[in-house]
Assembly symmetry: C2
Homo-oligomer: 344 residues x 2
DNA sequence: CGCCTTTCTGGGAGCGCTCCCAAAATTACC
DNA sequence: GGTAATTTTGGGAGCGCTCCCAGAAAGGCG
C-alpha cells in the first residue's frame, strides 16, 4: 500500500498542505522544511495518486490520439508508427501521457457503435485533457462533437471551421512538385492514384496533380485518375483500372499504393521506370528499399506529430484565449530511380 | 459543465446510490425506477467521471503498453503497428483503454532517467491497472520493479522468473525451420544475422539456427554469425561483416534485416537468390513487396498482442489467485522467392 | 520595542464516485 | 393478519488530493 500525502506529512512532522506545496513546487515553504519533506518523499517512494489529483484539479495530464474507424486498416502503413513516435516524444517532453484510441476493424455499423461508446467513455468521462485527431474523413462526426463538448483538440490534416486548430503538410505543393517532375521528364500521359477523396490529404494531393497539369496547359483526362485508399491493395486495384488507358507515368498519393502499382505493372509485363515511371508520396522507409527505389515526396511525419502536440498543449494550457493555431509544414521531392531520370 | 451523479439523482427523484446502481448494473433496482433513471441519463448525457470512479474503486480500466528505451528506434519496424493493433482490439473488446509509454530516443543516460521518471509517474501513481511489456532486453530493470510493486503485467517474449506471465512465439522452432529449409536446398555455408542477443527473441532465433545445423551434424562456424539489432541498417552492417566469409545463404532474424542484407549483397554484385539465398523472419507486409519476395517465418503478431491482453485481463481480474500464464504461439515458414527454391 | 507587512503553515471543504449499513418497502409464509 | 425473510432505497463515510482562508511566525521600520 503506497503512502498518501497525509502519511508523508505525519512522518515529516508537517501538515498535508505543506507536503502538497513541496510536491507542487509552491515557493512558500521554508527551505529546511522543504528539504525534510523531500527526504521523507524519497525514503517512502511517495507518488501522488493520479486519480485523486485529477479529481481535485480536473485535469488528467493525458492526451488522446484518436484515429477514426475505417482508417485503422491502414495501420500497417509505416506512416503511423513514425507519427506516433513524434507524438509520444512531444508528450514526454511536456509531461503528458498518451492514450491511444483506435477503433475496431469490424463491420462498419458495429464499429460506428463502438466509436460512439468510446467517445462517451473516453471524452465525456474526462479521461483526457485534449486530443490529437489523425486521418479522419472530412465528414467524421467526431468534429462537431468535439467542438460541442469544448474538448481542446488539434487535427492532423485540415478542417474548415474557424475554431479548429490543425497542422498539415503542404500536400498540394508536394503533389504538384511530383507531377511537374514527371512532366519535365517528358511524360504526357501522367496518371494518378489518389487517396480516399473524403480525406483532405486525398483531395489535396489530387489538387496538386491538377495544378501541375494546368500549369502546362494539359487537359485533365478523368480516365487517368483512379481513387485508392492509401493501402497497397488499393494501389493495386487502382493500377489495374488505369492500365487500359496506357499511362506512361503514375503519381501515387502514398508509397504503399506506389508499391502496389509497381507490382501490377510488373505482372502486366511492364518495366519500371523504363515503360512506366512511378512516383509515390510519404517517403516511408520502404520507399528506399523496394526495387527500384521510389522517387517520392517526403513529408516530415514525425514533426507533424510533435507539432500537433505542441499546439494542443498551448491550447490546453491557455484555455481563456480563443486562439486557433494553424501550421503547414513543407514537403520535399526525393528523386530516386522509379521515375526514370531520363532526358525526353 | 457535465452533470454529476447527484444531479441525475435529483432529476430522477431518487438517491445518488440508486443512480450508481443503475449505472453499474446492480440488479437490486426496481425496473420502473431503473427505466426512469436511464431516461434521465440519456437526456442529460451523463457519464461517470473517470477520476472520481478510479479514486473510489482504485481501478482505472487503463492498460499500459511499455516498450523500453533503446528499442524505440525500431519503431519503424511494421512489427509494432501490427502488435499495437492486436493489443488495441483486445483492449476495446474488454473495455479497457490503452496508454502508450514509449521512451524518448535521446542519449542513453538521459533516456534512463526519463524511464525512471515515467515509471514513477505512470505506475506508482496508479495510472494503470496493468501493463504489457514488449521487446524489453532480458536484463531490463523494469522487471524487478514491476514484480516488487506487484503490478500485474504480461510480457511479450520470455523471462525466466516463476511469477512472470508471458506470451511468446516459438522462435526456436521457427528459426530452425527456416535454416533447415536452406540446408535442404543444398546450402552448406548458411550464415545468420541475429537479433540483439540481450533479447530473448534474438537468442532463441540463434538457438534455432544452431539446432538446425546440429541436426545435420554441421559444425557451427562463428564467423558465419553476425549480431544485428532488428533494423535495416543493422542488417546491412552485419551483412558486410559476413560477406568476406562467403556464405551461400543467410538467415536474418527479421525481415527488415533481411532487406538490409539483400541491399548489401546487391551492392557487392551478388544476385539473390542465385548467388546467395536469403530468409527472413516476421512476415511483415514488406516481405512480399520487395524484389525478390522474401521467404520468411510468419509469426502471428496480432494474436501475440491480443493474447497478451487476454492474459493480463485475467490476471487483473483475479488478483487473488497467483496463477501464471504462459502461452507460446506457433510460427510458420512462408516460402517465396528469396531462398531460391532450386534443386541442389 | 511595538505595529504593520509579508511569508509560511494548518485545517476545512469539496472534487464525484463507490461501498457499507441501516431503514423502508415489499414479498413470503404460516 | 402478523411475523420473518427478502428486496429496494437512502445517507454517511471515505478514496487522496488541491485550494482557500485564517492564524502563526518572521521580517521591516520608525
Amino acid at each position: 500500500m503506497p503512502p498518501t500525502l497525509e502519511e508523508v506529512a505525519k512522518l515529516a512532522g508537517v501538515s498535508r498542505s505543506t507536503v502538497s506545496r513541496v510536491v507542487n513546487q509552491h515557493p512558500n515553504v521554508r527551505p529546511e522544511v522543504r528539504e525534510r519533506v523531500w527526504e521523507v518523499i524519497r525514503k517512502t517512494g511517495y507518488q501522488p495518486h493520479a486519480a485523486a489529483r485529477s479529481l481535485a484539479t480536473r485535469r488528467t495530464r493525458v492526451i488522446g490520439l484518436i484515429i477514426p474507424q475505417a482508417v485503422t486498416t491502414l495501420f500497417t502503413d509505416p506512416y503511423f508508427p513514425i507519427l506516433i513516435r513524434g507524438i509520444a516524444d512531444a508528450c514526454n517532453a511536456h509531461n503528458y501521457h498518451l492514450m491511444l484510441s483506435l477503433f475496431s476493424r469490424r463491420r462498419v455499423q458495429e464499429s460506428r457503435a463502438r466509436q460512439d461508446l468510446l467517445y462517451q467513455q473516453v471524452l465525456r468521462s474526462r479521461y483526457l485533457d485534449g486530443v490529437v485527431v489523425s486521418s479522419a474523413p472530412l465528414d467524421d462526426p467526431i468534429f462537431p462533437r468535439l467542438l460541442e463538448d469544448g474538448v481542446p483538440f488539434v487535427l492532423i490534416g485540415r478542417y474548415s471551421h474557424e475554431r479548429v486548430s490543425y497542422v498539415d503538410v503542404d500536400n498540394v505543393v508536394g503533389a504538384r512538385m511530383a507531377v511537374e517532375h514527371l512532366l519535365r521528364l517528358g511524360h504526357e500521359r501522367v496518371a494518378t492514384i489518389t487517396g480516399p477523396l473524403n480525406m483532405c490529404a486525398g483531395q489535396d494531393r489530387l489538387e496538386g496533380y491538377r495544378q501541375a497539369l494546368a500549369a502546362r496547359g494539359i487537359p485533365v483526362d478523368e480516365d487517368l485518375i483512379a481513387e485508392g485508399d492509401f493501402t497497397e491493395q488499393g494501389g493495386q486495384a487502382a493500377m489495374r483500372r488505369l492500365l487500359p488507358h496506357r499511362p506512361t507515368a503514375v503519381f501515387a498519393a502514398s508509397d504503399m499504393m506506389a508499391a502496389g502499382a509497381i507490382k501490377v505493372l510488373r505482372e502486366a509485363g511492364l518495366r519500371v521506370p523504363e515503360d512506366v515511371a512511378v512516383v509515390g508520396f510519404d517517403d516511408i522507409p520502404l520507399a528506399s528499399m523496394v526495387e527500384p527505389p521510389l522517387t517520392t515526396v517526403r513529408q516530415p511525419i514525425e514533426q507533424l506529430g510533435s507539432m500537433a502536440v505542441e499546439l494542443l498543449v498551448s491550447l490546453m494550457e491557455n484555455p481563456g484565449e480563443e486562439t486557433v493555431h494553424r501550421v503547414v509544414l513543407p514537403t520535399e521531392l526525393v528523386i530516386r530511380a522509379s521515375c526514370g531520370v531520363r532526358s525526353r
